[in-house]
Each structure stands twice: as structure tokens, then as C-alpha cells.
């Protein structure tokens, strides 16, 4: 599920706290840039105008016992969510017992992805709104984090960056500031290479694995009994889920790119094991969406050097 990162509208998101208005209107600027990044920023003709940020605290109830998105009643039914990835595995043994897992299913948890996108998107929209409010053209050096508050079932999304104005530059398209994770020399190199940042792009994919008997046995060390061979084999259902969650995350971010490129991507995956074979796999993908605005010749071939120090 893509987030509104880069495509979100600042109009209608007038929900900033009063303190934010007072801070942004105080007449001085603040910046999270390091001194070298700050100097590089000025060298590029970018004037820092303020430290901008966005928060969103989300309560997610999708793993609770009463969740409506538990395993489907039939292996032939579509996934619990709305569309998306789904795959089913059938037990090769026939009826063994009522506890025997006769079928298994992997499916994309699109409601989880939507919740993540809503949290990230709301925080991002507030960041852009703050930047817009102080007349910024862009936001550089963006950092974001998602913090799980213990024992409360809630997650806080926090995004912040330094709003800048391009000296003599036109207002950004649609009045919406561009955003980037880059700052300082890395941003300068990007621009010199003929690219311009458009927006931070971030997405999350979630896949739930309901193991069938073979997956359960393999994941609890029962491969010797079932394979009859050397006792080592790949666990197809889990691999399928891991492959799918990464593919989905990349597809979602592709939808945000709209023909642009993703620079400096960070792909992180985590698996939360619920029981042998049953797990939730989540994958987040972040990066800066960049657009080529002019052709650039390759740099001269670098010369290897040895420093006498």
C-alpha cells in the first residue's frame, strides 16, 4: 500500500498544533542539519527557513483475537483482505486428525499496509504542511522513525527535516514542497548528476503465513520424518511469503515513482513468529524519488590514490 509520500495534498490538512504556528512564525530558523550540511546547503543557494516535522500516533487492532481478518474458512476463498497476493497449499496426506493442518495460506494483509500508509502519510502530510506554511520550496535531510509504544498497541510515526527556500527559485509545482532524505554533499552530487528530488517515498508490505502441515513440521524440525532423505529441504511456503512481501513492497514504491527513480533505497524485513510456521512478515522500503531534469556526462574515470599519511 503506497503512502501519500510525494503525492499527498497539503490542502485541507490544517491540523497543526498552535505551538507549531508560534514556533514557525517566531522569525528565526532552526535546522537539524550538521554544520557541514548547513554550509553545503548555503553553497547550493538553499536558505534554511525552519525545522519542520509531522507526527501521527496510530492504534492498530489487526492482530487482536477479534480481528475480522483471521484465516479464511476455505482454502479456496480469496485472502482476508481486499485483493492482493494470496496462495494456498494443500496437505498431501489426506485426513489424519482434526488437529492436522490440511491446508495453509499466505496472504497479503492490505489493511495492515493501509494502516501503516495512513500513519506515515498523515505524519508526512503534516511535515509538508508546516513547510508550506513557512513558504518553503523543499525539505532536505528528512529522517523518519516508527516507534512502537510498549504494551499499548500503538505506533508513533515521526518525520522531520529542514525546510529550505531556493534562492531566486520558482515555487514548487502545485505549491507542494519537494522532500528528500538527502542533504549536504550528497544532495549537491545528486543535483550535479542531473537529478532533482521529488519526494521521499516509503511503503510497507505485510504478509501473513498460515502454515499447512508440511511447513509446520519443517519449521519445528520434523524434516527427517517427512522427507525420508537427508533431512534438509527448503520450506516452500515460507520462501513464497518472503519473496512476495519484498516484491509487493517494491511494486508499491514503483506506483509512487510514476516513471521517476528511487535513490538510496533502504529495504528492511522483519518476521514475527506466532507459532511454528505461522508468522507475519513485514517489509518496509524507503528512499528518495528523484527525477532526471537534465542529461549529465559521466564523471572522469576516478584516479586511484595512495595517501602518505
Amino acid at each position: 500500500m503506497g503512502t501519500p509520500g510525494g503525492a499527498g495534498s497539503v490542502e485541507g490538512a490544517d491540523d497543526l498544533p498552535e505551538a507549531a504556528d508560534r514556533r514557525l512564525g517566531s522569525g528565526s530558523f532552526s535546522s537539524a542539519l550538521t554544520v557541514p550540511d548547513f554550509a553545503a546547503c548555503l553553497q547550493m543557494g538553499l536558505q534554511p527557513v525552519g525545522l519542520v516535522q509531522g507526527f501521527c500516533v496510530m492504534q492498530w487492532g489487526w492482530y487482536g483475537a477479534n480481528s475480522p481478518y483471521m484465516r479464511g474458512a476455505s482454502p479456496y476463498a480469496p485472502s482476508g483482505g481486499r485483493g492482493g497476493y494470496s496462495a494456498t497449499w494443500q496437505c498431501p496426506h489426506g485426513f489424519v486428525s482434526t488437529e492436522h493442518r490440511m491446508w495453509g495460506q499466505n496472504y497479503e494483509q492490505s489493511w495492515v499496509e493501509a494502516a501503516w500508509a495512513q500513519g506515515f502519510g498523515s505524519a508526512y502530510t503534516r511535515l509538508v504542511e508546516e513547510a508550506h506554511a513557512i513558504g518553503a520550496h523543499g525539505v532536505i535531510g528528512v529522517v523518519d522513525r516508527a516507534t512502537h509504544l510498549a504494551d499499548m498497541g500503538v505506533t508513533e510515526f515521526h518525520i522531520m527535516g529542514t525546510a529550505v527556500v531556493v534562492d531566486g527559485g520558482p515555487p514548487p509545482p502545485g505549491g507542494q514542497p519537494w522532500t528528500t532524505y538527502l542533504a549536504g554533499q550528497r544532495l549537491a552530487k545528486l543535483v550535479e548528476a542531473g537529478f532533482m528530488p521529488v519526494a521521499v517515498a516509503a511503503t510497507m508490505a505485510s504478509v501473513r503465513v498460515w502454515a499447512y502441515c508440511v511447513t509446520e513440521y519443517l519449521m519445528e524440525g520434523g524434516s527427517w520424518a517427512w522427507s525420508g532423505g537427508p533431512g534438509t529441504q527448503e520450506v516452500d511456503q515460507i520462501i513464497h511469503a518472503h519473496t512476495a512481501v519484498r516484491r509487493i513492497a517494491r511494486e508499491h514504491v514503483r506506483q509512487q515513482l510514476a516513471g521517476d527513480s528511487l535513490q538510496g533505497a533502504r529495504l528492511l524485513t522483519s518476521a514475527r513468529r506466532l507459532s511454528e510456521g505461522d508468522e507475519v512478515i513485514e517489509c518496509t522500503l524507503r528512499g528518495t524519488r528523484v527525477r532526471r531534469v537534465r542529461d549529465a556526462d559521466p564523471l572522469p574515470t576516478p584516479r586511484p590514490t595512495v595517501r602518505l599519511t
Partner: protein
């Protein structure tokens, strides 16, 4: 590399370039075609561009291989099933990474991030990197019959290429071994003495050699002549302290021409002083 070095370009006007880029964005410039996705830094991207390559897509290869029940119980010698699981998972993940690269139209994958987790009942392997292709290569898919896979950074890849070598693939080898036991009598006799525990030495020596031998065998199998940037990890398993894992991997390389190309680095004598860190203790006169 040094022979083809052109003179440094005049310093660019960053301010003018930034302004020009902002105007182009405001002027409605749009994305063209299918953009690249990459986990390379901007430095690595520019370096690859200078060397004639460009990123295509972020690619992944994953595998999970089962470990049979009971293999971690105390025994002697190598834990064969665990070693087999490890090697199966790694080779399958690398194969999937190559397939994704070929599907994306890449000629190889650089900067592969290797993540291996050993669980009592399964070995999980995740490989993530950026598929690259020569500049101006046809964007058609599936053209690379046998893309290379490398965990070298773009910087190391470029340097390797300029020295006349090419990466072939990731060479892996692993071995698991039980910590050998001593008899009660032997333990008593050795108690309080400076003495080599020869059974430990032999078991661990052998396991290390096995892992590295498997790595070299896999390099030869994929047509490599050597391995660079070898990494070795070892240590007891958290869930079975009597079992020790040895794993070795690196990028298998092959000479492209008839001989190695000497890069002839330029010697540089920097005239800037090394920054001296401030020491808080100096305030106390110490």
C-alpha cells in the same frame, strides 16, 4: 584506470545548477519510462556511471532451509545436516537473486547485503542488492544469461574491473561442529595445567578448513579463479552453546584478459593537518 583518466573538470556552479533543477521541476518535467530503483549511495551511483554502468533495479533472493530435529544434541565431529541446510539455503537464495536480476534486465548485482540467521530448526538467508547493466544497454528483460552476483561495493567493483578482473558470483562455505568432550579422567588430569586441548584444536581447525574448502569449491564450480573480500564468521550458537558455526563467503572473481592490469595509483601527500580531537581530561591538567 589511470591511463584513461581525463583532466578534472572546472568546478561547477552549484547554485546555478540547483536553480536550474528547481525550475525544471517547477516547469513540469515528468518522469520518463521505467525509473531505476537502487540501494546504492549517490557516490556509488556516480562511480558506476563513470565506469560505464547504471543501476536497474533493487533485487532480492531469499531461502529458508529446514534443519532436522535433534541435530543439535551433543555428538562428535561435524553437524552434517546443519551444514547442508546452510549451504542449500545460501545457494538457493543466490540463484533467486540471479533470476531476479536477469528478469530486471541486469547483467549483475553489486553491493549484495548478506543476512543469515540460524534457528534451531531452519536457516534463513536473505540477499539484497542492486542489479546493474552497462550504460545504454538495451532495457529488454532476460538478456543476461548468467548475471554475476557480488557483495563488493560499487567502489570495489569499479577498482576490480579496472584491474582486469570480473566478479562471477558469491562463493559460500559453512560448517558446524560439536565442541568435543573430554573424558572425566582426561579433564581431571588436565585440571589446573597449561595444556593444549588437542581435541578442541583439531575439531575447530578442521571445521574452519572445511568451511573455507567448500567456499573455494563453490568458487571453482562457478568458474572463478579466486575469491576476494572473504569474510569469516564463527562462534557458538546461542541456542546450543556446544555447537560452533563457521561460515566463509566472498566474491568469486575471474581474470577477463590475459593478465592483471596494474592500476598504478598516484601517490598523494595531503598538506592538511590531521584534526586533533579535543581531550576533556586536559582541562584538569592531566
Amino acid at each position: 584506470m589511470s591511463d584513461r583518466t581525463s583532466p578534472s573538470p572546472p568546478p561547477s556552479d552549484l547554485r546555478a545548477e540547483m536553480l536550474e533543477a528547481a525550475k525544471a521541476l517547477a516547469g513540469g518535467a515528468t518522469g520518463t519510462g521505467r525509473g531505476a530503483t537502487s540501494d546504492l549511495s549517490i557516490d556509488e551511483t556516480l562511480l558506476l556511471h563513470a565506469a560505464g554502468w547504471e543501476p536497474v533495479d533493487l533485487v532480492c533472493g531469499v531461502s529458508v532451509a529446514s534443519v532436522p530435529y535433534g541435530v543439535w544434541n551433543w555428538g562428535q565431529g561435524e553437524i552434517v545436516s546443519a551444514s547442508e541446510s546452510h549451504n542449500l539455503a545460501v545457494s538457493a537464495a543466490a540463484t533467486r537473486l540471479r533470476e531476479e536480476c536477469a528478469h530486471a534486465g541486469g547483467r549483475g548485482v553489486v553491493g549484495v547485503r548478506v543476512e543469515i540467521e540460524v534457528d534451531p530448526h531452519h536457516v534463513d538467508v536473505e540477499l539484497t542488492g542492486t542489479a546493474i547493466r552497462p550504460l545504454r544497454a538495451s532495457p529488454g528483460k532476460g538478456q543476461a544469461a548468467d548475471p554475476f552476483v557480488s557483495d563488493l561495493s560499487a567502489r570495489d567493483f569499479t577498482l576490480l574491473q579496472s584491474a582486469g578482473w570480473a566478479p562471477v558470483g558469491l562463493a559460500f562455505g559453512a560448517g558446524f561442529v560439536y565442541s568435543p568432550r573430554r573424558t572425566a579422567g582426561t579433564a581431571l588430569r588436565q585440571s589446573g595445567q597449561n595444556v593444549e586441548l588437542t581435541n578442541f584444536t583439531e575439531a575447530m581447525y578442521s571445521a574452519r578448513e572445511q568451511a573455507m574448502e567448500r567456499m573455494q569449491r563453490s568458487a571453482i564450480a562457478m568458474g572463478g579463479q579466486g575469491i576476494v573480500a572473504v569474510q569469516v564468521t564463527e562462534g557458538p550458537m546461542g541456542f546450543a552453546r556446544h555447537a560452533i558455526r563457521f561460515a566463509a563467503w566472498g566474491t568469486s572473481v575471474r581474470l577477463q584478459g590475459s593478465s592483471h592490469q596494474y592500476v598504478q595509483p598516484q601517490v598523494v601527500l595531503p598538506l592538511d593537518d590531521v584534526v586533533v580531537a579535543f581531550e576533556a581530561e586536559s582541562l584538569r591538567g592531566q
